[in-house]
Amino acid sequence: MKYSKIYFDDVKVGDELPPLVKGPIQQIQLTRYAGASGDFNPIHQDDEFARAAGMGGVFAHGMLSMGFVGQAVTDWAGATAVRKLGVRFAAIVRLKDIVTCRGRVLGKSSKDDVNLVELEVWAENQRGEKVVTGKAIVALPTRG
């Protein structure tokens, strides 16, 4: 269940995060994200500019997709659980694309009362092509 508390004890290697489906991506969301993030690169707003730059039209900020991946992780692990989130932007996200964020538990470790779970995370478009790939480390509480 979304925002339910998850415990380190209950997590197993190979567990999958509930998929998070975002989109279809609309221009208004890119404009809104530009305002919220401060990234006003016209390549995400101005189709003519993006075509002249050889990109074939506007595309989404990579950081928007990374934000989606972050949401998939925090929906599962909690808003303050993330210790590390690192991604590579593998392919461009276009208008009308549907972005599905996924994750899988790679490993668990405990040291000095800190319980960490390492995750493989990624986002794919409606054709199943990976647009973001990366890893996350989250700290989780233990039972009792």
Partner: protein
């Protein structure tokens, strides 16, 4: 002819800049992502939490900008905004951040290198920003790789 990047920027540190986290900015950022988590949006949920206030989403520090002319760095590097793609991004977060907190951000260019991929010659600019709080504790390290289509 592909453009040449100026490797002289390696090691260059930008002037430190100060940011104060605004309550409304956290909410605006979460809403722009379409993330309805009450930990970012509901003041009462924040106050009742162990952190005593709202917290920021994990990628929020992308909003930490110096407000200056980013074109100046690109000109020194030898390129312009139309050639840029975002290659990689990493946030290492040592604690949550909350509204009203003030941080100092220090950015440094760690590396500039070139590689030829499927879509031709590409430049890579690796930068790291440290974010420190008012007790001089590092609360986050942000690593960023910009790809330049040469």
């Amino acid at each position: 002819m592909p453009i040449q990047l100026n490797k002289g920027v390696i090691g260059k540190e930008s002037p430190p800049f100060v940011v104060t986290v605004e309550r409304g900015k956290i909410k605006e950022f979460a809403r722009a992502l379409g993330d309805a988590n009450p930990a970012y949006l509901d003041d009462r949920v924040g106050q009742a939490s162990e952190w005593g206030d709202l917290v920021a989403p994990p990628t929020f520090m992308t909003t930490f900008r110096d407000g200056g002319d980013s074109g100046e760095f690109l000109r020194e590097l030898g390129t312009d905004i139309s050639r840029l793609l975002h290659g990689e991004q990493e946030f290492e977060l040592f604690r949550p951040i909350r509204p009203g907190e003030t941080f100092v951000c220090r950015s440094k260019v760690l590396d500039v290198y070139e590689k030829t991929g499927r879509s031709g010659p590409m430049g890579f600019v690796v930068r790291e920003t440290s974010v420190t709080d008012n007790t001089n504790e590092v609360v986050a390290l942000v690593r960023h790789i910009t790809v330049v289509r040469l």
